[in-house]
């Protein structure tokens, strides 16, 4: 079963010879598509979508292998954020029902333990802040130490914008990957966030990269950006060359400025998955929030066969996900092994 095969059939191919050549070159060289070709993939007719997904899957297997990296995430500080990211229910500037709450260390360790029990190799600790203050950094230090003492899992963090001292401190704690999403195309960012700039976010990413931590940087599709801006965003991410790109689809949250937005169409989401993979052939491309609403079970499967090679399992920060067992069963059915911890060290 698939969202795409009823329209197309197995013999679907890319009709534009130039685009077909460009995609073949990605497979051969591991160098991603240029922005114009990314846009061409994002605007393919439905009948060519299976061909794009198939090509993206081949690229993923050739340059990343068959494994899927599984991650769990938890919010260590929820809500009350001073920023105005228009998609986010954790901003203190909107009338969202989300209240501020902190997670204590024993609960943080338990969350890491439960994540590891799924077979996940990554555990990302997230805070809804502009950037970490001393209290949060101390909480991180204590939490990372406690997790490392009790749970065999890689620890990532997402704490907003960092100073150089904070970057150095996270490295010293043993945080191996840092997430900071650019969220959307540079040209569209001011429509989504007004309390800080795309460039400020980029500065943090630059420091993270120079520190030796792995860079995790993605965004959210469906914020009102044009298809051309989706291509722009993929090209900008490709320039950054992050180790991981988490791909979210807007899950409209009550009380936010985007609370009444329409979720991304499933086929547009699949076009985006193929396009982002073909733009970023060697990157970990992760299913993040919103896939349950945008893609459902069938679309989730199509995306895994169309360029995705990582997923967040279990719940998100303020919303719930599929049962981890359902995702792991799907990977087993697709004969996609979960990446082992030894392969990540």
């Amino acid at each position: 079963m698939s969202l795409t095969t009823p329209d197309a059939g197995a013999a679907a191919t890319l009709r534009d010879p130039a685009l077909a050549d460009a995609v073949a070159s990605v497979l051969d060289t591991g160098v991603g598509l240029a922005e114009a070709d990314i846009l061409a993939v994002l605007t393919l007719p439905d009948e060519e979508l299976p061909a794009a997904l198939e090509a993206a899957h081949r690229v993923r297997v050739r340059w990343c292998g068959p494994e899927v990296e599984v991650e769990g995430i938890v919010s260590v500080k929820t809500g009350g954020c001073p920023e105005d990211c228009h998609f986010c229910s954790q901003s203190g500037l909107f009338t969202s029902p989300v209240r501020a709450v902190w997670l204590d260390i024993p609960a943080l360790v338990q969350a890491a333990r439960e994540t590891a029990a799924t077979g996940a190799t990554e555990f990302c600790i997230v805070a809804a802040v502009r950037g970490p203050d001393r209290r949060l950094m101390d909480q991180m230090r204590e939490g990372v130490k406690a997790i490392r003492a009790e749970v065999d899992i890689q620890i990532a963090a997402s704490l907003g914008m960092l100073s150089q001292d904070q970057v150095d401190e996270l490295v010293e704690m043993g945080v191996h990957r840092y997430n900071h999403n650019l969220e959307t195309a540079r040209s569209f960012f001011p429509q989504v966030v007004t309390t800080h700039s795309w460039e400020e976010r980029f500065d943090t990413l630059r420091m993270v990269r120079e520190s030796g931590m792995e860079v995790c940087c993605g965004g959210i599709l469906g914020l009102g950006e044009t298809v051309a801006q989706r291509a722009e965003f993929a090209a900008q991410l490709a320039q950054l060359q992050p180790d991981e790109v988490p791909l979210n689809f807007l899950n409209p949250r009550p009380g936010t400025p985007l609370g009444d937005a329409e979720p991304v169409d499933a086929k547009d989401a699949l076009r985006a998955i193929a396009a982002f993979r073909l733009a970023l052939p060697r990157t970990i491309l992760r299913y993040a929030g919103g896939r349950e609403i945008t893609l459902g079970d069938l679309g989730t499967r199509d995306g895994l066969l169309g360029g995705i090679n990582a997923m967040i399992v279990g719940n998100y920060l303020t919303t719930l996900g599929r049962a981890p067992g359902s995702d792991l069963e799907l990977l087993d059915e697709l004969k996609m092994p979960v990446k082992a911890l030894s392969a990540t060290l």
């Binding site: 994540t115 719940n315 719930l320 067992g325």
Partner: protein
Amino acid sequence: MTTAGTAGPTGTAGPTGPAGTAASAGPAGPTAPAAYCDRCGGELSTDTHAACRVARALEPPRFCPACRRRMKVQVLPAGWRAECVEHGEVRG
């Protein structure tokens, strides 16, 4: 692991039950009858809250169904817990 995608509170109707009742009767939770939707805080007597009921399959409760106070909610990888200052904590 707890099934994260079907996060009805332990021992209650869960997300397929009427919004506002799903989080009302957990072992450590509120015991007062549900009068409010636990997703939007609206009165249950004036609306079916059908959309809320569907949405709750992928969301924790946000409002106490007994008093409509906004609850402190912590989502965890394998569940959630929600606390009303007046009516206590519920887990799912």
